[in-house]
Amino acid sequence: MPTVSMTVNGRAVTGDVEGRTLLVQFLRENLHLTGTHVGCDTSQCGACVVHVDGESVKSCTMLALQADGAEVTTIEGLAKNGDLHPVQAAFREHHGLQCGFCTPGMVMSAVDLLKKNPNPDEGEIREWLEGNICRCTGYHNIVKAIQSAAADMKG
């Protein structure tokens, strides 16, 4: 069985996987990082979004071995020393979630957006969230949370 090594949330990890093992399976089942969710079987919902080498990707549509040697950040890696990341804090403050299932993917996607575009307008945020599906909120409070986080992060 092939061995895969990568850095996940700053920690070097290694594991035995099959060729077909998805990155999300490796994160959840080998590393027990269950914050990354699987919400669909068709690569559409975005609940599984993580960062691989700084870019947001769908971890359900990438093989674990394709992340060999990569730096991976999951939702568990965002908070520092017990303090929520500004995007996480803004989702809580602005009720950017109801059931919370899509939230890890939404937050990881939003963090990537704000890295590329620190000052997005509402349209740009909605367009960026194309690959993240939420069935509860109607998106309004998610967009509000991301706008608020952008303002907070500019300090």
């Binding site: 559409q44 093989l63 071995l65 394709q66 194309e130 690959g131």
Partner: protein, 265 residues
């Protein structure tokens, strides 16, 4: 997903050898189509050859007046590339409209064209701009590359290495996107440049096609008015839950006019 043997070669030669030696192998670039297909158990290859570890297949360069894009360059990279944005903004726009941000971060130009989905954007980009596909065996003009639905001129063990685009004087791509997937229900690329006057349509038929009637009309005058009366027959166009053939035929005329107006502007 059925199991398979995964290969991660670091050279094109090793990739060609791996696919040549497999009983039923599949080449994978970004995996944005293949992995969902495997997850649904719609494919059961013996071997998957991942091109993602081949450094030489990534990147964008200018060469002999062309913009040459490596096969495993992602849509996000093409969309954000300063050279592409300056020289062929229509191509940057096309790449920026594929799927969603996470798909654009993984999906590649080589994977898209080798798959030749009838609703993919890049086939219209290549044919509409008169690009040339570079492979491990030869160079293929875009007009000869796309054969039919999910079918290309590639041999079983032939790998796309890059796509070379001539720089047009003017070009634009307009699509009517499926609201869920962002695949093109109809997409039209128009251009005028070293490759002549070109109008290429994706999404409407089984595979990308050129609209010669519109190309002739633009030869007289490169304006939206010149193509205002160009229509296509619904016969043979795609018809599915998203749009009937008649609706697609009408969309071709609408997207054509929009693309010409944008390119002429």
């Amino acid at each position: 997903m059925y199991d398979f043997t995964l290969h991660r070669p670091t050279s094109v030669d090793a990739a060609a050898a791996a696919i040549g030696g497999a009983s039923d192998g599949k080449i994978m670039a970004g995996g944005m189509t293949l992995i969902p297909t495997l997850k649904q158990r719609l494919a059961n290859p013996s071997d998957v050859v991942d091109l993602g570890a081949i450094a030489g297949l990534k990147g964008i360069r200018e060469e002999g007046g062309n913009i040459v894009i490596g096969a495993t360059t992602t849509h996000a990279t093409v969309a954000a590339d300063p050279t592409v944005k300056a020289k062929i903004p229509a191509l940057a726009h096309l790449a920026d409209g594929i799927g969603d941000p996470q798909v654009r971060n993984r999906g590649t130009i080589g994977g898209s064209i080798a798959n030749n989905d009838p609703a993919a954007d890049y086939p219209a980009g290549l044919v509409g701009l008169g690009a040339t596909v570079h492979t491990t065996k030869r160079q293929i003009p875009a007009d000869d590359f796309f054969i039919g639905m999910f079918e290309t001129a590639l041999a079983e063990d032939e790998i796309v290495t890059a796509v070379a685009f001539p720089v047009p004087e003017k070009a634009a791509y307009m699509k009517f996107a499926n609201p869920a997937s962002r695949y093109a229900i109809v997409g039209v690329m128009v251009s005028k440049g070293p490759a002549g006057l070109r109008v290429a349509v994706t999404g409407a038929g089984p595979s990308v096609f050129r609209l010669t009637e519109a190309e002739s009309a633009l030869g007289g005058s490169f304006t939206a008015d010149a193509v205002a009366k160009v229509t296509v027959a619904a016969d043979g166009l795609n018809s599915d839950m998203h749009a009937s053939a008649e609706y697609r035929a009408n969309l071709v005329s609408v997207m054509l006019k929009r693309a010409v107006a944008a390119a002429a502007g």
